[in-house]
């Protein structure tokens, strides 16, 4: 290994860790350890860590990040979400709506916009993937308050729902024109 003197000078002006690389590259042949992988070598293999069922859902606590595992009634813990669509609601601040109008319109061409509602769960039919909800008025689509059955998307975890739970939900029109619930968020009061 030959050193370029100028290179060495540059390196020495820097932090010790960088300069140490010269040491490392100098000892490539002499000091390299042979480490054998514990796993069998196989071309471009991937490790599947498994499905979401590996952790059982807990009502009102599901979610990743910091602040989910402690149940705090003042906050709105997330039960299950799958809104891939923009949410038409006054709850979102104006900045968001104004700002993203451009991109959102692009998205809206592909799929109808999601609509947000609020209500109370009355009953759950897991087998038919239906939830009966007594919901407040939904002005975005001109619906008065009513109690009705909703179809629920496959991605929503029905196991985390309980009767009399206060929820926010989003839905969007499916192929037949029926609204299908895409996300359900609990308020933690029930």
């Amino acid at each position: 290994m030959t050193f370029n003197l100028q290179l060495l000078r540059v390196a020495l002006r820097m932090q010790p860790g960088i300069a140490a690389f010269l040491v490392l590259s100098a000892c490539v042949t002499s000091d390299a350890r042979t480490v054998t992988s514990a796993a069998p070598v196989e071309a471009a293999a991937a490790a599947d860590l498994g499905g979401s069922g590996r952790v059982s859902g807990t009502s009102g606590m599901a979610g990743e990040g910091e602040g989910y595992a402690t149940a705090q009634p003042a906050k709105a813990p997330v039960l299950a979400l799958n809104s891939s669509m923009p949410v038409a609601t006054g709850a979102m601040d104006n900045g968001q709506m104004d700002h993203s109008a451009h991109g959102r319109q692009q998205m809206a061409q592909a799929t109808p916009a999601a609509v947000q509602g609020r209500g109370v769960v009355k009953s759950i039919d897991s087998a038919r993937r239906k939830v009966n909800i007594s919901h407040e008025a939904i002005p975005a689509i001109g619906w008065p308050p009513m109690t009705m059955d909703f179809d629920v998307a496959q991605s929503v975890n029905l196991g985390a729902l309980k009767p009399e739970m206060d929820i926010d939900f989003t839905m969007r029109q499916g192929g037949s024109g029926m609204y299908v619930i895409q996300t359900i968020i609990s308020h933690g009061r029930h």
Binding site: A11, R33, A47, A76, L81, D93, G95, H99
Partner: protein, 593 residues
């Protein structure tokens, strides 16, 4: 000295393995997955051959990336890290909330792990999601990085059937020392896209001689190359996906109809990536370990240090390419989703190389006239822009901000520390470390980023990020800290407020103080700013549902802000996650008393 060459796609898995009789797991070996609460990690030199030339890498437990560490929220983990490298090293747990002594930054958290020694980290894991770990020094470039997956206590918000980590990184046959030396010698050493006499003629044909000459002269006067998107490029880098170069074709399996979760981590040292899977929209569900309300996108940009989790639902029994272009289009990483091993889909051509614009300099340079450095410091029309952020972002003229670390001025209930653009111009002009001041820094959160806007695809933007639960700390900030990201690109000097780390005083916060960090990017490059120890709540117009991040990519000429609760005392690093920018001084200590 490196010979200038084209982007190398690397050896195929079989060729790489044939060249590596030592059984190294790089470039295609099955990754180690370590689960539990007690872990042993060993950093050591390892022979590798990624491009056809034997080199020595630095590996963790003999693999690059290092093992996937699987933790559970709420557990206390113990990690014994042994350093068998011939110099002091360390492991930093990126994005993990822990006591300052466990953070793994030599010189701040502890003295580092000397050659031959073992340091045992031990801390409780208060969070869940996708994170990563890496050396806090140049050996990150040569392989000291790996992923962390923390399962949530209360279950996943999303249902998925398979779960893969996708670690993106950049490998060079040159050592970090050589790379820095080359950049110091000539800052555009790795940029061959620089405009030449040939493109001058092309531009003249297209635009006429007048505009072309004045445009070139303008750029010439500013001593910059508009093609300088990334400092280190595919000219020396081979981009890796889970350690595999493009030719090795890392493959993840699925059955049609399954929901597949992909956890993308940008462990590149100098590489911002644009990710898409042609034919397969991605539902983005998490960033930096924190869930967001799912957003569908065709493409997203990721900066070094950031993580994004997506769910895809391939319905056809065919292969899909995970296509990961470097931001400057000088190369790509590539993997495949397929129903069985050995399949491959078409690799799309790379997009056109983006050019920097006057907006990237923080100057208004529209068709109406040359940058007049208008005094409307927020740049764009607040009604057209992000109303929420405009509302929460302080009026730059409201505070007579005090420069540097001097006494804070009170404006209303918020104390402002730092320089306005005008003060920065007055104080920093003539400073050799600073070649540009953004006189009209803009809110660019609603832009996808250079080279992405207007590409016809749905590209994720920072304004799309909405946390499902409201902020953990509802208090408004009582202090604002204005930070200028500064540099001299021709000399490859990088700093904060014109002062490099080694000469700077720390930013001091009181315990539990609520603070707004306002970042003004005076340079013409994107900088992924990473604050250790505490969350950065990006003020992106989502109100109390603003996203929690640990690394925020700041665009050229951009002004953005995020809120911080200083709830973890100690000495924390705050720096640009482009490795060589950090090494050369774009870093501060944040000291929480």
């Amino acid at each position: 000295m490196v010979t200038r060459r084209q982007f190398v796609q690397g050896l195929t898995a079989s060729a790489a393995l044939a060249g590596m009789p030592l059984g190294a797991a790089l470039a295609g070996g099955a990754p180690q997955v370590l689960t539990g609460t007690d872990f042993k990690l060993e950093l050591a030199p390892m022979p590798v051959n990624i491009t056809g030339r034997p080199r020595t890498a630095t590996a963790i437990n003999g693999t690059i990336p290092g093992p996937i560490l699987r933790w559970r929220e709420g557990d206390t983990v113990t990690l014994a890290v042994t350093n068998r490298l011939p110099f002091t090293s360390s492991i930093h747990w990126h994005g993990i909330r822990l006591p300052t002594g466990m953070d793994g930054v030599p010189g701040l958290s502890f003295k580092g792990i000397a050659a031959g020694e073992t340091f045992t980290y031990r801390f409780r894991v208060p969070q869940s999601g996708t994170y990563w770990y890496h050396a806090h020094g140049p050996e990150e470039q040569t392989g000291v990085y790996g992923s962390i997956v923390i399962d949530p206590k209360g279950g996943f918000a999303q249902r998925f059937d398979r779960d893969y980590v996708v670690v993106l990184s950049d490998w060079s046959d040159e050592t970090p020392t050589q790379i820095i030396s080359n950049l110091k010698f000539q800052s555009d050493y790795y940029n061959y896209g620089r405009r030449t006499v040939g493109t001058f003629v092309d531009d003249t044909k297209r635009e006429g001689l007048g505009p072309t000459v004045s445009d070139r002269l303008l750029w010439g006067n500013m001593r910059m190359a508009p093609t300088d998107i990334l400092d280190v490029t595919g000219a020396t880098y081979t981009y890796l996906l889970n350690g595999a170069p493009p030719a090795a074709n890392w493959t993840a399996l699925f059955k049609p109809g399954e929901r597949v979760r992909l956890r993308f981590i940008d462990a590149g040292t100098m590489s911002i990536f644009d990710i898409r899977i042609p034919g397969l929209p991605m539902t983005v569900i998490q960033t930096d370990g924190n869930d967001i309300i799912p957003v569908t996108a065709d493409e997203f940009r990721i900066g070094p240090g950031e993580t994004y989790d997506v769910i895809v639902e391939p319905r056809d029994a065919r292969a899909y390419t995970i296509f990961v272009q470097s931001q400057d289009r000088s190369g790509f990483a590539r993997g495949t989703l397929a129903p069985r091993a050995g399949m491959a889909a078409e690799i799309p051509p790379m997009d056109p190389r983006p050019l920097r614009t006057m907006a990237d300099m923080g100057m208004q340079h529209g068709p109406g006239g040359h940058g007049s450095a208008s005094t409307s410091a927020t740049g764009n029309d607040p009604h057209a822009g992000n109303g929420g952020a405009a509302q929460s972002a302080p009026d730059p003229h409201a505070g007579h901000a005090m420069p540097g670390s001097g006494p804070a001025a009170m404006t209303g209930s918020i104390a402002v520390v730092g320089m306005t653009p005008e003060q920065a111009a007055a104080r920093l002009s003539g400073n050799v470390a600073v070649d540009n001041i953004a006189m009209a820094p803009m809110n660019r959160l609603g832009e996808a980023g250079g080279g992405l806007d207007g590409n016809g695809r749905r590209v994720l933007r920072y304004t799309d990020l909405r946390r499902p639960i409201p902020a953990n700390d509802p208090r408004p900030p009582t202090k604002e800290i204005i930070v200028h990201l500064t540099g001299n690109m021709e000399r490859f000097m990088w700093s904060i407020d014109g002062i490099k780390f080694s000469q700077a005083a720390p930013i001091v916060l009181q315990r539990n103080e609520r603070v707004r960090f306002t970042i003004i990017n005076d340079t013409m490059m994107d900088h992924p700013m990473h604050l250790h120890g505490v969350w950065s709540e990006l003020e992106n117009g989502q109100g109390e549902h603003r996203p929690y991040k640990h690394t925020i990519l700041v665009k050229p000429g951009e002004r953005l802000s995020y809120l911080v609760t200083a709830d973890e005392p100690g000495r924390w690093a705050f720096h640009c996650h482009l490795l060589y920018h950090m090494e050369l001084g774009m870093m501060r200590e944040v000291r929480i008393l």
